[in-house]
Symmetry: C2
Subunit: 205 residues, 2 copies
DNA sequence: TAGATTGTTAATCGATTAACAATC
DNA sequence: TAGATTGTTAATCGATTAACAATC
């Protein structure tokens, strides 16, 4: 099935399926069914089967899915059967927290370099890295063929920095700045903004 | 219009509208139009008008929306025209980053208390707070009438802690643990998981 | 075989958008 | 008034789900 025909909302659920499979495996299970996945994730079993059917046939009638096999397939589909190097932009509090977060490495996402434009931060240690000047951004991104950036800069410079990143070949941005970025549609952006989450939950309180 | 009829996806966009209004105001504008908001946010103007129409008529034909007025209305709708107190559970690296993050206070969300179950962390400073024992959770939540929790504990205890929070009256959870929580439907959960974001973006690379 | 579960179709449901009368 | 933009309707589009033949 051609990639472009898969709705983005389906792609967004695949990591959740994968995470649940890992969890079930940890519980000692080796097979599961769409019904079990659905209950644990709060989806419908039909949705899970339909989502998977965009990519192939991974189950066995009467039995369900082999957990290890389905995990492997999902990792291939999502292209996370390899290590991805990322650039971290912004070495403030948030940048420090991100550099120290173990969850990225655990899933084969590596922070390969960190950048800031404040002279007093350049050269400082950040986790295992040394903060580099933004002047070095072009050469480092190019040399290491980095396609993913984590944007942890203040809101008022985020749009400018993001534009620069895209010009330098970045194709995916994990954006922690609390603004909506204007970028070419070919560039993927995933927004992390806890305040937006809080503001939509309070509506229901 | 009765609250329950408003789709959750609409509620989720209101904070983005609000954020853009603040941004436009900073640019010196006092009025805007659905068309302008739409372009800046990457939505359609019809969607913005329709979303707002769930709650009333806030614009003027031929002119558009008064930015200050629409902001005020949106804050009321989202119930963020007041200060909300939150409990922070987990005083690890992530908990520290959250305690130091200025973005919550800037939008009138206050971390009122922080908890951890590790004896060596209890009593330690965390931003302006002192880490308290989980034993104190029931009394503090009750006394301060806290309805929102930020969950920053390891994945393997997140479900148990979340269940406990709900029993103690928590109605909204900002979940930083990389698992899907099983909670009663009346409880709102907003998931923050950068790895899930990265894993869906790599599909397109 | 009998029971269970997949993969898929068609129906349903819900969200988005085009279009325009109303009106500032 | 002429021009612009809202609020709303109806049409369109897309996602979810119920149902079941296929089959392990």
């Amino acid at each position: 099935m051609p990639q472009n025909s898969v709705p983005a909302i389906v792609i967004g659920r695949l990591p959740l399926y994968l995470r649940m499979l890992t969890f079930l495996e940890l519980e000692g299970k080796t097979i599961t069914a769409s019904q079990e996945l659905a209950e644990r994730l709060g989806f419908s079993s039909a949705q899970i089967r339909k989502d998977l059917s965009y990519f192939g046939e991974f189950g066995k009638q009467g039995t369900g899915y082999n957990i290890a096999y389905l995990q492997k397939q999902l990792r291939q589909i999502l292209k996370i059967d390899r290590t991805w190097e990322m650039a971290l932009i912004g070495a403030g509090d948030l940048g420090h927290a991100l550099a120290n977060y173990r969850g990225f490495g655990a899933q084969n996402f590596r922070i390969a370099a960190a950048f800031d434009n404040a002279p007093e931060k350049i050269g400082a240690r950040l986790g295992d890295l040394t903060v580099q000047s933004m002047d070095e951004l072009p050469s480092v991104l190019h040399e290491r063929k980095i396609q993913i950036a984590m944007l942890a800069v203040p809101a008022d410079v985020a749009q400018a920095v993001a534009g620069q990143l895209v010009e330098l070949g970045i194709r995916a941005v994990l954006n922690y700045a609390p603004i909506t970025l204007s970028l070419p549609p070919k560039v993927k952006v995933y927004y992390i903004d806890p305040v937006v989450g809080l503001q939509s939950m309070t509506y229901y309180l």
